[in-house]
């Protein structure tokens, strides 16, 4: 079974600075997808960024980028120019490519605080 580990329960960053959230995972599959979801106090789960395992190029979405290290099974999220609205819980998630295994496996989350 796949597992996703987020070893940082809480992180804080000064507004306008850069922060990196860590995520590692364990799988025996070769093709899969990785996601970062943001959950603000409103509780809604918002997709931030996604990465296909077969792509070597790291995904980027505006101020959000990932550092995907397939051999190390690491998938960190970098937030540049942090803004107050970035304060939220961030969840790393894994999704396999085998039929019957399309469900998401989530990490336990990292609570990000932005310091004004």
């Amino acid at each position: 079974a796949q597992t996703v580990t987020q070893s940082q329960p809480e992180m804080s960053v000064q507004e306008a600075e850069t922060v990196t959230l860590s995520c590692t995972y364990d799988t025996s599959e070769s093709d899969y997808y990785l996601f970062w979801y943001k959950q603000p106090p409103s509780r809604q789960m918002i997709l931030v960024i996604r990465q296909e395992a077969y792509k070597q190029q790291n995904a980027t979405e505006n101020r959000f980028s990932v550092n995907f290290q397939k051999a190390a099974k690491s998938f960190s999220l970098k937030i540049s120019d942090s803004q107050l609205g970035d304060a939220a819980m961030y969840f790393c998630a894994y999704r396999g490519n085998n039929f019957g295994n399309e469900k998401l496996t989530f990490g336990t989350g990292t609570r990000l605080t932005i310091i004004p």
């Binding site: 329960p9 997808y33 409103s42 997709l47 039929f99 469900k103 998401l104 989350g109």
Partner: protein
């Protein structure tokens, strides 16, 4: 632009009571999912469905039942509520099960069993 709609948003139940959490989506998605999120934890899959009439167990199915009679609706039923089922419940959907398809989440239902 409704997306995934969950009702109710909040509910308090007594031990042993039953209730149904409603979930409906208007995006014609085939795949639907129910997750629970316990305090300080990530989401865990309860049940999922790959299309009308087809459901399957996830990681934590005990104490729950689902049905999928239409593409739009995927209700989650608690038959005999227990304190361990106090949690926030999320419904999600995706067009297919393909890994490139992100799941769209509802706003969640906060359920307390007292």
């Amino acid at each position: 632009n409704a997306g995934v709609t969950q009702t109710p948003k909040f509910r308090i139940l007594k031990i042993g009571q039953s209730m149904t959490l409603q979930c409906t989506q208007d995006m014609n998605h085939n795949y639907m999912y129910w997750y629970r999120q316990d305090p300080g934890m990530g989401l865990k899959l309860i049940y999922y469905s790959v299309g009308a009439g087809i459901t399957d167990k996830g990681e934590v199915p005990n104490g729950y039942n689902v049905s999928r009679s239409t593409t739009e609706d995927f209700p989650l039923r608690l038959e005999l509520a227990a304190p361990s089922q106090t949690s926030v419940y999320f419904c999600a959907s995706s067009p297919t099960g393909g890994i490139r398809q992100p799941q769209h989440f509802g706003d969640g239902t906060r359920l307390s069993i007292l």
